[in-house]
């Protein structure tokens, strides 16, 4: 596609439920990043994929968070047993390769609200 697509745009879920957030990067972009943006804060790094593998998952806050990218394109961020503190905007970005030179394209994010 022309841009990075994230679905759903908004998601409201009950505490304790499981959610999946989807990111469809620009075709041909091998690098994919997930960031979390809490209210009033800048985005914080969660996980980085190069191709199909998670090259760096050091930003995942705990084991309730998991992400996959099975075919090296679409990625899904999975959150188990959601908590109210998980409420945030989850942003996805992609690039031809990790590194600033190619530039990153961000999606419009998924706003997750846990009630």
């Amino acid at each position: 596609g022309a841009g990075v697509s994230q679905t759903p745009s908004n998601k409201v879920t009950e505490k304790g439920k499981y959610v999946e957030l989807r990111c469809d990067p620009i075709s041909g972009h091998t690098a994919l990043y997930w960031y979390r943006q809490s209210l009033g804060q800048g985005p914080e790094f969660l996980i980085y994929f190069q191709g199909t593998g998670a090259a760096d998952d050091s930003g995942l806050p705990n084991d309730r968070f998991f992400a996959v990218r099975p075919e090296g394109s679409v990625s899904t961020l999975k959150i188990q047993r959601t908590e109210r503190g998980d409420s945030a905007v989850y942003l996805c970005a992609s690039s031809f390769s990790a590194g600033w030179y190619y530039g990153y394209t961000f999606g419009s994010g998924t706003r997750l609200t846990v009630v």
């Binding site: 905007v89 600033w100 961000f106």
Partner: protein, 117 residues
């Protein structure tokens, strides 16, 4: 660890005037990249301008320019001839060149810019 600080939570500027947004950062690296991103209500982060730390010349993109002071670890954004469409949240971001191939961005807390007609 690297940190990015934006000390101005909100700024306001009159249309057609000039405004400067401040950013400081902390790092022990000598080579890195700095960015300014704009985030309108649509939530999509849009790259405004970027600067390589090894370049002394300040980057310029049309009405947007930076004042990069490496020794002071300062990276301010100047917007000239402000337009209503410039109203948005602006984030300063740092990207290191060491620590593996992740090249993740480290963001500040943002400055909300209002443009008055």
């Amino acid at each position: 660890a690297q940190t990015v600080t934006q000390s101005q939570p909100e700024m306001s500027v009159q249309e057609a005037e000039t405004v400067t947004l401040s950013c400081t950062y902390d790092t022990s690296e000598s080579d890195y990249y700095l960015f300014w991103y704009k985030q309108p209500p649509s939530r999509q982060m849009i790259l405004v301008i970027r600067q390589e730390a090894y370049k002394q010349q300040n980057a310029t993109e049309n009405r947007f320019s930076v004042n990069f002071q490496k020794a002071a670890k300062s990276f301010s954004l100047k917007i000239s001839d402000s337009q209503l469409g410039d109203a948005a949240m602006y984030f300063c971001a740092y990207q290191g060149t060491y620590g593996g191939a992740t090249n993740k961005l480290i963001f500040g807390t943002g400055t909300l810019l209002a443009v008055q007609p």
